[in-house]
Amino acid sequence: MPKPARTTRRDFLKTAAATSLAGRLTWDLRGDPPDAPERHKLAGAALSAARKAGASYADVRINRYLTESLSAREQRLREVVAGESYGAGVRVLVNGTWGFAGTSRVTADALKQAALAAVAIARANAPLQARRVELAPVKAYRDRWNSSFKKNPFEVPVEQKIALLLKINETAQKVKGASFVDSSLRFAEERKFFVSTEGSALEQHLVRSHCTFAVTAVDRARGVFQQRRSLSAPVQRGWESIEEYPWLQEAGQAAEEAVQKLSARPPEPGKYDLVLHPTHLWLTIHESCGHPTELDRALGYEANYAGTSFLTTDKRGKFRYGSELVNMVGDRTQPGGLATVAYDDDGVPGQRWYLVKNGVFVDYQTTREQAAWIGQQQGHGCAHADSWHSVPFQRMPNVSLDPAEKEISTNDLLADVKNGILILGDGSYSIDQQRYNFQFGGQLFWAIRNGKKAEMLRDVAYQARTPNFWNSCDGLAGPREYWLGGSFSDAKGEPVQLNAVSHGCPTARFRQVNVLNTAAGPGR
């Protein structure tokens, strides 16, 4: 990660300030949302309709989602798109079977109809229910919560955003050999209202921000090209997160590195020690620890799509997932984490717990419904629906690797590597349906020789088996190098739902991992 540089930030702010402030986007396209008493009235109509129709439990979510996205290619702004989706979802339990219906018409009548439709679905499905749904007890909460942000990006003038993208592109384009630059900004805002027949009434307001760019260098004579994407990450924060990042510094550096990649050499395939920077490692954590510790996967509930998990329930508390250094924490409380909430979509408070402790697999991600499946008294608050029209189910909290207690640096980790590769940035990623065999690429690769970072490499990927990989971890950097990566759009479930999730980690070292040369191509 490049360090923040104040001068570059001022530079783009100056450009933006030269334009007017008329581009302010107010968050509601539709006008004011119903006030609190009105929302309670609407939701109450659905809850009582559900109860009357025979539901033992019901909840209603009345949610508004705003998105804004801008993208630019070189000095052309390709698009500015603002979007809003507003509606309500009613979920019911009838005789231990779930039913759900969503409607974009947020009126008392439409909500009642949705409640009845949800009950009808539950009744139709009841004959197929082999095991009644039992919800772990949860207290009734009445609360309001805002995610952590200083400047709501939806209140920042659009000119300022356009100026930033064009300036990033201009900076990268100045580098000789940089052929193309694409940049984009995406913002999301959620205003969520949840009530249940158990007495909870929760309002949550979440804001997420993401800026990224990619520079492509093309050598037309040779007919080859290379790309270098930004190492930045999306966060559950506001416009201040964009202001703090040294975009222009990274744009120039990325352009130079894209060009440099054209003349870098691919690796000799074989076993190498890997030093993985947090801008890269977050995605490996996501795939090889985040998904396999989902309880629904472990028990076969996602077998038809995402798959199952090698971390079966008999392994809990015993299986050596990684070396003693490896501590993975599930966390819905981490400031800035994309999956951070005060309450999940079951109304369960956000919490923090260990999934892997001192290398041993100790726990799963769970919801209220899942707690009973493994004899837990309470779920870990991992229910999430990506829209008012989606059914909540188990989704990933922020899953992060604890740093070393001591202040160890990346250079300290390099010092003990004779022949290795340092990887920055996320690239290609793929893992099997039980989360054993994975392959990851990256953005930047540097040879490590005799403890020192040496020349640049290109077209590197590593392939490993999850427990072998984490057991080969013999070095972690300290708290100062801890960094939060993440994704706006982790896919799971049928129909597919997206979840925003973060993964924090320090730089980490892994011994003797299998490395491929991906430039070797498919020729034979």
């Binding site: 007017s20 986007l25 396209l29 006008g31 052309r76 702004l77 698009e79 500015v80 603002a82 809003e84 507003y86 509606g87 979802g89 759900f100 219906a101 969503g102 974009s104 439709a117 679905i121 009744r123 139709a124 499905n125 197929l128 229910q129 082999a130 095991r131 659009v158 000119e159 064009l166 093309v218 037309r220 004579a221 007919g223 080859v224 076969g300 996602e302 077998a303 038809n304 798959g307 199952t308 029209h389 989606s390 059914v391 990623y429 793929s430 893992i431 099997d432 349906q433 989360r435 054993y436 065999n437 392959q439 392939q463 049928e494 299998n514 991906t518 430039a519 191509g521 498919p522 034979r524």
Partner: protein, 446 residues
């Protein structure tokens, strides 16, 4: 929101356009009901229904433009939508690539909407899933599956009088059957615009047969094998080709597998084996597409490859004009012609190789060669002397669909398929016998 009829969609578009203060604007509408049912571990899990409406308005101020999308259609909401887009459009810089709005167009008729499929009852979904669960239980297997039915319309209109409308329905069922010891797994799926064509019992029976046949898989070394791909596996691989691979502009800019040195592309080159005919055809009866693509551009039959020669790539209107080509728009379906052989013929022609039924988690590794990585899943079998001999452990591959089409030896019968990971884009693809396919490591996942 029910599905809007053509008249209703036209009236709503006109109402929105009449609110516009800008001289030029576009409206896109879409919506309709969808419902689904999931089951796993032979029991129902979650299910639901929802309806929605999407209203998208693009305002144009000369060469400036911006788009706002919302899902409410009352007058105050529409007014705010239009004002918001107009305000943003005034602030956007000029777009040198903005093409003039199209005037009224002629569209091919594309029938693909069946009301009964759009409005299937919860009981009908439960009955369909029940058949599959019973099939799994009867064979002592553990079933997980997904049934979804939907109906919807899409409409595009603009201030120059263009109006395009299309309604479509869809039903899809997919199921994975696993042995209770976790040692065998099989997958099957079916999709159609007509729910009556989606036979959940037959899908479940196929998944169950594969699960039972895949038990006791043996380990083979990674390496290059001849392969027979079932249509599902071909669909899983082709999704990347469709999404990322066919852009003419990227090819001309030197950043695609279809780039040629010196700023040229490879159109006209024989890149694939002779029997490869790859095209989009909105009116194909087995996989009806849409009569229009972006901004109301009429969809038409377009060959991307004919007799192995790269014939065309995807041209948007701007790039087509710049290069003196006809715009293609993005394909709304994809068809690869099949051959006269059946799957058994393909297997019988294989001295030593693998039968692949499904791929999983396919991601691009190297865009220069369109190298992809991914894994086999839910049924991989060893073929020797023209016969399936035994199941084998899964592999990770590193291979390119472009290379695959070069290595095609025989084509089998076609089937309507969608990617098992990436969703709803309908393709009509054959089974393929491919001379050489590269596997790089073993996966112990079942």
């Amino acid at each position: 929101m029910p599905i809007l009829s053509p008249d209703e969609a036209r009236a709503l578009s006109k109402r929105i356009l009449s609110l516009a203060a800008v001289p030029e604007a576009e409206v896109s509408l879409s919506g309709g009901p969808s419902a689904h049912l999931r089951f796993a571990v032979n029991t129902i899990t979650t299910s639901g229904s929802a309806d929605d409406l999407s209203v998208s308005f693009t305002a144009r101020h000369g060469k400036r433009h911006a788009t706002v999308t919302a899902n409410q259609a009352d007058d105050p909401s529409l007014k705010r939508l239009v004002e918001q887009a107009e305000r943003l459009a005034r602030l956007a810089p000029e777009d040198p690539e903005l093409m003039p709005l199209l005037g009224p167009q002629e569209y091919l008729p594309v029938p693909g909407f069946i009301a009964a499929t759009a409005n299937l009852s919860p009981q009908a979904r439960a009955e369909a899933a029940g058949k599959a669960i019973r099939e799994a239980s009867a064979k002592k297997l553990v079933g997980a599956g997904f049934y979804r039915n939907s109906g919807g319309f899409e409409a595009t209109a603009n201030s120059r009088g263009l109006f395009a409308y299309h309604a479509a329905s869809n039903a899809r069922f997919a199921m994975t059957a696993r042995t209770s010891d976790g040692g065998g797994s099989g997958y099957a799926a079916a999709n159609s615009h007509d729910a009556a064509q989606v036979d959940t019992a037959a899908v479940a029976a196929t998944a169950a047969d594969k699960a039972l046949a895949s038990r006791g898989a043996r380990e083979l070394p990674p390496g290059v094998y001849a392969v027979v791909l079932e249509p599902q596996a071909v669909a899983d691989l082709f999704t990347t080709l469709r999404f990322a691979g066919l852009s003419a502009r990227e090819a001309d800019e030197g950043r695609s597998v279809f780039s040629a040195p010196g700023g040229k592309n490879r159109i006209g080159e024989k890149l694939f084996a002779s029997p490869v005919n790859l095209y989009t055809d909105p009116q194909h009866p087995a996989v009806p597409g849409s009569p229009f693509t972006e901004a109301g551009l009429p969809a038409r039959k377009i060959y991307f490859a004919r007799e192995g020669v790269l014939e065309n790539l995807v041209y948007d209107r701007f790039w087509a004009e710049k290069r003196g080509k006809q715009p293609t728009g993005h394909p709304t379906n994809l068809i690869l012609d099949g051959g006269t052989h059946n799957l058994e013929d393909l297997i019988a022609s294989t001295a030593r190789g693998l039968l692949i039924t499904r791929f999983w988690y396919i991601r691009a590794v190297n865009p220069q060669t369109m190298l992809l990585t991914g894994l086999t899943r839910d049924g991989l079998f060893y073929i020797e002397k023209g016969k399936v001999q035994y199941p084998v452990r899964n592999f990770r591959f590193n291979e390119s669909p472009v290379e695959l089409l070069k290595q095609v030896e025989l084509l089998g019968p076609q089937r309507r398929v969608v990617s098992s990971e990436q969703g709803r884009f309908a393709m009509y693809l054959p089974a393929l016998k491919v001379r050489a396919f590269r596997f790089t490591s073993l996966s112990e996942a079942v």
